[in-house]
Every structure is written in structure tokens, then in C-alpha cells.
Symmetry: C2
Subunit: 420 residues, 2 copies
Amino acid sequence: MSRDPIARAQSADINGERLWRRHLEMARIGATAKGGVNRPALGEKDIEAHALLATWARERGFSLAIDDIGDMFVRRQGTDAHVEPVVSGSHSDTQPTGGRFDGIFGVLAAFEALEAIDDAGIETKRPIEAAIWNNEEGSRFVPGTMGSGVYSGRLALADSLATADREGATVAEAVAALKRAVPDADVRALGAPIAAFVEAHIEQGPVLEDAGEVIGAVTGIQGSRKFYIEVKGEEAHAGTTARRHRKDAFVEAVAMVNALHEIFHDAEDLVRFTIGQFEILPGARAVVPGKVKFSIDFRHPEIAVLDDLGDKVEPTCLSHARACEVTVDELPRSPPVAFSGLVPDAIEAAVQARGYPWRRIFSGALHDAGNLARLFPAGMVFVPCERGLSHNEAENAKPSDLAAGAQVIADVLVDLANRD
Amino acid sequence: MSRDPIARAQSADINGERLWRRHLEMARIGATAKGGVNRPALGEKDIEAHALLATWARERGFSLAIDDIGDMFVRRQGTDAHVEPVVSGSHSDTQPTGGRFDGIFGVLAAFEALEAIDDAGIETKRPIEAAIWNNEEGSRFVPGTMGSGVYSGRLALADSLATADREGATVAEAVAALKRAVPDADVRALGAPIAAFVEAHIEQGPVLEDAGEVIGAVTGIQGSRKFYIEVKGEEAHAGTTARRHRKDAFVEAVAMVNALHEIFHDAEDLVRFTIGQFEILPGARAVVPGKVKFSIDFRHPEIAVLDDLGDKVEPTCLSHARACEVTVDELPRSPPVAFSGLVPDAIEAAVQARGYPWRRIFSGALHDAGNLARLFPAGMVFVPCERGLSHNEAENAKPSDLAAGAQVIADVLVDLANRD
């Protein structure tokens, strides 16, 4: 792409009040008693969120498209019908006790950018789009960043569609329900080329807030490995079974956890090691546990550390099993991602032009932009969130910071959508 | 009571084939795919088990009664209408992955004794009864041995009726459902005097099987203390939140568990310490756990050890909380029980008269007889179970051993029901 000085001179000022109002409207869909949001991927509430965005899109005359894995795209046409779009967006699903900004901010920032550009009457050569990538969180359907993962070819479509939630409902059924809820959506081909992708997101960490900065230009995303461990012992009576006769799956799982905690402890505190699921079966007070299932979420910026420590999970668990059997399964890995070139350069140019306090920042969380960067020029914009809290109902962000993030998105879209 | 030599001479031989058949019929109610039984207290299946026993009782002309906490009594009248009954029985509820003999054997042994005595045309002075005590297991409604606990005054009726299961259904509603399913049952007064109580049960341990013995004459029941611990931290993003900023409820709960395992470890292997429930909230792979709830089931024959070690649970948990808050709740204690006098003497006399290989044995498990011994002469008869396995779908017992246990119950009932 080459810079077009005439289009470059144009700019659209976003409407921060409208952006904030749309956040409050979305936060009502799946609202929890504690002020958070519970919107499992393509569950009833998440589909309601998609339908609301579709309603706003139709009011603007924007067009809609959905792909076979349930990603949804709102398009404002460009002047050239035959070129790839510039896309912005994120996700609308949440963790079970999620907040009001994780994901949905990136969707609404993109949509606000489209509206602001429309309000300003700016024509772009390329179409510009606001996207909702399906199932970013991975808490209803495993693994997460599924929509962008299938779109970019990292995950297989058939396997993903067959994935079921705990009640046995499949992704295929959920996608069909989305298509029914947005019946006027066109079909978007998976992997259809994108000229550039830019995602806005809350930081989910404390760096920007602590530094008093408004924008983080993201330089990359740390890699992750995810494991599921199953420890199989034998159920027995808690009152009569002597310790020496027990095959207590809980006791042995805890021994594994202790060994893992030791191995994954780093003085620098860069390793992110989390056991977020841990289930005892049958889970009765008077029964020695016959089975334990637990998850490991391990992230690090360096691929060598991911390889080295991650490869120790299975042997560590096996070596701490005594009377029990243990199996270790690993989900597909997410290697570290580096953003460079077109999109980060456009982000930095926009931030500097607007004069926002900013820094370059590395992402601890996975994002859809990580998948899309495999195929397309991509980048991310972070805004601060209160105390760095996320995946928590108390998650919070300032309207003025959200507005700054959306403004950068609007400026980047205008810039990139006018390049060849 | 004084011995009556004429009645004493009478005896009824039980029908082992009929007893076994009734076990198989009962095992179909709530049968699991792995050959076990799942019959939550006064759930649909457990009420079906009560109704089946009531049907068999009516065919015999026995009368039925239910008390206000849902205990059910099948009565064969004696010659004296104004004296207290001699009662045998146990429970029909199971653990979620329970077996075919735990509890129901004591019910069916008592009922077989009534039938055998009826078949033999033996008249007893006292009425004899087969009882099903409600909610012995405590896995649907907490705490267990609830029916006998309320009957004997250890637990309060109102509190127990208000107890709800995880779906919010109360004991009161479950008892009402039982009464509707057995509409011809009389009302039995809670605490109505019982001349003597004898309970048959599988051993739930390996001692009798290992020794090649058929009957255990139970000398007492070990005491127990039960705790529920809640650890409250803060949910956070697993990818972005540094270890030093986490309030990880799982990590701190595991530290408590490690300290408890160390404190409760005894070289003699007499301490029974079990963590059978351990729940993470919200339980998502990518969320640092905000809350953990776990149970402790602690049993020991000696009250001094129960006091000493049990009193260390709360301070140990508190001292291992760092960033999290911890609360420790204790359920009502079950002190150790000693059986002596009338009932154990009658059991030993019957066993010796029949010539069964036997021993005196101490019970590791709680039983309804422990509650009833607070008010009435009481005792227990154990029979072997395969590998000592119980609270397990693979639980098994030999028809000949079950028959021997029922025979002892029949002999004890005839003996005690003819004493003054």
C-alpha cells in the first residue's frame, strides 16, 4: 500500500458519549448481580448481543455477513468493490464471571469508528468492517480464539463445529442459531483475505494505569500451552478405608500440583501458571475421591521457556502418581506473536497525531489478533482498565480512555482503507 | 427384660434365596451403568424403593408408619399391643456412586426376618419392625444419619426439614412426597420408645473377609467431625496477572491442604482424614480462581484425638491464608459410640448358637444405630463385603454372608421381642 496524501488529510472524530452508551446497553445482556457479565459464546445472551449490533448496523445501512464458524462482520462499503477490507473488532463472549469491557470494547470501538467515519461523510477506497470473532474466551467451548483460529486456518473447521459444551450442545448448533437470529447476513468465506486487521482491547493488566498512559501500542502476544490432567483412583468409604488401602485421586493430584508449582515458580514472575479448573468425582464428603480432573494454563513470552517448562508437565504428573493412573492431554499451542510493520506503524502514527500519552506494550493475554497475524498484517491497541482487573465482574474502564482507543481505531481505519 | 425359655426355644430360618432376589430387585431402582446404585435420599428413586418395600409389606399384612422426618416402619404385630417394639433396619439412600448393599442390606435383612418369623408362625410378645431411616448418607441433604438423628433428638426437626439440596428442594418437600407415595402409612411419633434396636450392615472394610469370618458383632462406632472450608480470593486474568498480584484461592487452599495432610498423618493409620469435596469458582481455565470450597471428613475412635486434631483445622487454615480470606464451618459432631449389654449380648448368643465364624469388631463408618444408642438399647451386626470396598459402584457381598447376617437379625428379634 502507498500513502494517499488527500485521503490521509481526512479524519473522523468519534462520539465518546455514544460509545459509552452502547457499552451500557451491551452490558445489560447477560448482566450479573455483581455488575459483571455472563455471556457464554453463542449462548442465548451472546446471540442477543450479536442481534443488537446487527440492528444498529441496519439502521446505518451497513451490510452483514457471517462465516461458517460464527464470526460476524458489519461492513461499510468502500469506493472500490473489488479490494480486501480493512477490519477491526474483537469478541462479545465473556468468562462466566466476566466484566463489561473485555472483548465487547473492541467490537464497539470498531463499530463507533464505522459510525464516526460515516457521520463525517468520509469515503474510503477499501470497505471497512467491524467484526465479532466467535468464542474468544474458550470457557463454553474449548479451545478459545476459535472463530479467528478457524478463519486463519490454525484450527480445523470440522473439529471445531463438532466441539460440544458441558450440556452436549455443539458449536455447529450454536452457529446455526446465530444465523437464524441474523437471517439477512451474507455468507462470508472463511479465510477471505483481509488487507489489515486492528483490534482494540482493555489491557487486562495494570501497566498503562500505573503509568498514567492512555494508549498501548501492542508489540506482541505471549505464547500459551494448555493442559488437561485426569487422575484416576478408586472410590472408597471415608470412614472405614485406611490410608494405606486408599487410591485417593485428590491426594495424588495435590502432590502433582505441589510439584508443578515448584517447577513453574520463577523469581522474575514472568511465568503465568494457573490451575483454574479442578474437579473431584464423585464429590461427596464421605467418599474417598475416585477421580480428579484439572486444567493448566501456562503462558510465557519466550518460545524456549514454553517448550522447556511445558514439556515437564506430563513427566511431573506421571512421576507423582502412586496408586492412581494419570493421563495428560494438551490442547493446540498458541506460539508467541510479534506485531510489526503496516498496522503497528499506522497505530503509532495515529496516537502521535492525536497526542495521547502512550507506550509500546506486550500482551499477556491471548487475542484474536494473534491468529489473524498469521495471515494478514495485524496489530492491537490497548486502553487502561482499573487495577488491571479482568475476567472479573468488577472489571472497569474510563469512558475517556475507551474513547481514545476508539479514536485511534477510526484514524487507523481511515488511513489503511485509503492505501492501495 | 427377663428371658422367656419357651419363646426362646422357637426359631425362624430365613430364606436366603428370597433375600438375594429382593436385593437384586432393589438394586434396579437407581441402577448405574457400572453396576452400582445412585439413590439420593427421598429422591424419586429412593421413594420408589420405599414404595416397593411398602408393597411387599402389604402383601404380608404388615402395617406401615412414617414419622415427620421421613423414617418408615414396617410392623408385624406382637401379642401385646401396649409394649414398645423391637426394631431392626438401616437406610435405602446411597452415595452418588454407591453400591447395591450399603444400607439396603440392613433394611432387607430386617424385612426378611419379619417374613421368616411370619412364615414360621412365631408369635412374639412385642411388635417387631423393619425400619428405613431417612438420609443416612448425607450426600443429598447435609448432615447424614438425619432420620435417626432427629428421631433420637440429636438433630432439631425444624432445622432438618428446612435443609435444602443443591437444587433448592427441602427435606420437608421430600418427606411430603414420601407420604404421598405411601398414603396408607400411619403417623409414627418422633422418639416413640423402642425396646431394642439392631442394625445389620456390610462391614465396609476388609477385616471379616481377610479373616474368613461371616459375622462381626459390633462393639462401637468411631466418632467423626466434619468441616466445610471456604477460601475467598480474587478472580483475575490467567494470562496477564503476575503471581505477586494474584489472590489465588486455589493456591492458598492447596497450602492449607498440605498443612492439614501433615497434621493429620499418623504412623498407626487410625486417623481417617478425607477431602471428598473440593470446588473451584468460577472454574474456568483462563481465570485465576476467586473462590475454593472444600470439605473435611475426619474420624477416629478416641474422643481425645477427635478433640485435639479437629480443633487444629481452623487455626491451620487461618495460618495458611495469605492474600485470601478463609472461613471454617463445622457440622454437628458425632461422638464415638459404645454398644454394650442387651443387644450385643443377644447378638453374640445368636451367632454362637448358629455356629458362624465371628469376631467382635469396631465400626469405622457412621450408622443410624449410633444415634439410636443414645436413647435405646442398640447393637449392630456386620457381614463381609468384597475387598472392603464401599461407597463404590463395585461394592459386592456374598449371598451366603447376607443370609447369615439376616439369620442373626431374625434370631435376635425373636429373642428380644419375647422378653418383658
